[in-house]
Structure formats: structure tokens, C-alpha cells
Amino acid sequence: MADIAFLLLIFFLVTTTMDVDSGINRKLPPWNDEQVDPPPIKEKNIFTVLVNSKDQLLVEEEYMDIEQLRGAAKRFVNNNGDGSCDYCTGALRSPTSSVNPEKAIISLQNDRGTSYETYIAVQNELAAAYNELREDLAQRRYGVSYKDLGEEARKEIKDAYPQKISEAEPVSLGN
């Protein structure tokens, strides 16, 4: 009996794969045949991230390393340009950054030659920037972690920092 059980045990030990499927969730915009003009958005509310075919980043027309992207995105969203955001800690009031988190949009465009690894890294850093802002606000308002909040409170925090990432269709930016 035990022998048979051992045999089966070894079979399942060998065949089992323990990898849990996980990844970054994103939502695609619906397909539209006719070209729709984008609504007018002020230049300062857009945080432009360009990635070229050599996996280099151009953020707000400046060269940047991937390590700095998270901080830059946080500063941009948390800028509180018009003073209407009472929970923003950034309070840089920079005239070239967003007026408040609700209006802040991150625009991402990559080259067709950009590697998938870099693309995921950029997506990850941008998501991390928002997650850190939300976590921070949850700690200040409720004193608990964002993931431990109730549904309502979580939605409130989420709406305080809505994640707006717009992806343009890739172009050949060249070098």
C-alpha cells in the first residue's frame, strides 16, 4: 500500500509546477475605426514618457534612467499646481507639472524596437509610483495599509489618485 502511495507521490512531485500566474494588469482602449480627435488637455498636465529602440527613456524632454522614473512620476502627479489638492504632499507648485492628481495624465509612447523587458519596467515603475502615492495617503488618512482598507475607503483613495496612463500607438522614432 505504502509503496503504491510512494509511487504516486513521486509522480506528482515530478509533474507538479508551482508557478502562480501573475503579472501587470492593463486595460486596452476599445477599437475605433474613425480617428477621434483627442480632447484638449493642457501640456503641463501631460507627463510624456518616450522609449526609443535602444531602450533609452526621454521623460518630459529630458534623458532619464529607469531608476529615476518612479520619483519623477510621483513628483509630477503630486505636484498640486492649482492648490486644490489638500492631500498632496508634494506641494512643489511647479508651473510645468500637473495642476492636481485628477488631471494628471501619463502619456507613454514606445518605439517598435523597444524591448519588452524595458516596456514592462516602465509600466511597472509608473504603476509603482501610483501605488506608493496611494499607500502613503492611506497611511495618513486611516493609518493602515492600502491593501487592508475596506472597499469604500479603498475606492476613495483610488479616486484621489486616479491612474491615467495613456498609450500611444508605437512609431518608429528612429534612434
Binding site: F12, T15, T16, G23, R26, L28, S115, Y116, E117, N124
Partner: protein, 160 residues
């Protein structure tokens, strides 16, 4: 009194193995329950990129997978070494993606169709051109929930 004699030691008694089958059965059931049989044989390289902000994919029955990567060594002679798409067990072209996703959606019960997720399992060396083409196909098929499959780990460990 003589009756209270100190027991003469015969060494430690052997460990009883009577419970061994029970333990083995317990382990057996554990592995039987947790095991997931691989449904497809990977024909492409699949070294997923790392990320930290990841979410677990739930409801496996609502997930469709698309594998992207360079063909494995034994297939290079047939399909070349450029990154290819793999759907189920076969190599596919970009235009096949739409059909594949629509077929997968038909199999899902109607109430749950909007929850369907496509998981892109791409190799980290794949270029974004191919991924973007897939994304356009998914948009045309109106399957908008997407998951970029990644491993857990710091992003800029091995990068400059």
C-alpha cells in the same frame, strides 16, 4: 526493595514506522490537489521579465494565453529564429490572434464574457512591435482586459 530495580538500558527504542503510510498519503493528497498539468508544450523561449507591482491572475477558466518569443532550438529550422507567437500548441501569425481570442470567448459562459482576460506571456527579448500588433488585434476582437505575465523581482537588477 528489589522490585524497584533500575531498568537496564537497551538503547533507544526504534522509531515506529506505523504512521509512515499516513504521512505519505498526506503528502500525496497535497501534491494531487496542488498540481497543475501543463496544458501546452512551449515551443518558444519564455523568460519572463521581472516586475514588482504584480497581481495574481484569478479564475483560470477565464484566462487565455498568448506566448511570444524566439522559437526553441529544435524549431529554428522550420520557422526561423525571429520571435513568433504561439497559440495553444502551434505557431501562429498575428492575424490568427483575433480568431483565437474570439473562439476562446465563445467557450466562456455568456455572463462572464466581459471578465475574460488575455495573458501575454512574452519573452523579455521580444520587441514591442510584435506586442503592439497583438494588442491591436485584441482591440479589434474587443477583448480589452490584458495581463502582462511577469516574474516577481526587482526591475533594475541586471540593467544599467
Amino acid at each position: 526493595m528489589a522490585k524497584f530495580k533500575k531498568k537496564t538500558g537497551g538503547g533507544a527504542p526504534g522509531i515506529s514506522t506505523a504512521s509512515l503510510p499516513d504521512i505519505v498519503f498526506m503528502l500525496l493528497f497535497f501534491f494531487m490537489v496542488t498540481t497543475v498539468m501543463r496544458e501546452v508544450t512551449l515551443k518558444v523561449e519564455n523568460k519572463k521579465p521581472k516586475a514588482t507591482e504584480i497581481k495574481k491572475l484569478e479564475r483560470k477558466s477565464l484566462v487565455t494565453y498568448i506566448y511570444v518569443g524566439k522559437p526553441k532550438a529544435q524549431y529554428i529550422a522550420q520557422v526561423g529564429s525571429e520571435p513568433r507567437i504561439q497559440l495553444n500548441d502551434a505557431f501562429a501569425r498575428v492575424k490568427d490572434v483575433q480568431n483565437h481570442v474570439i473562439t476562446a470567448r465563445e467557450e466562456i459562459n455568456e455572463a462572464e464574457r466581459p471578465l475574460m482576460t488575455v495573458s501575454i506571456k512574452a519573452d523579455s527579448e521580444v520587441k514591442m512591435g510584435l506586442i503592439s500588433d497583438i494588442k491591436q488585434e485584441l482591440r479589434k476582437a474587443n477583448t480589452l482586459k490584458l495581463n502582462y505575465s511577469t516574474r516577481k523581482g526587482e526591475v533594475y537588477g541586471d540593467k544599467g
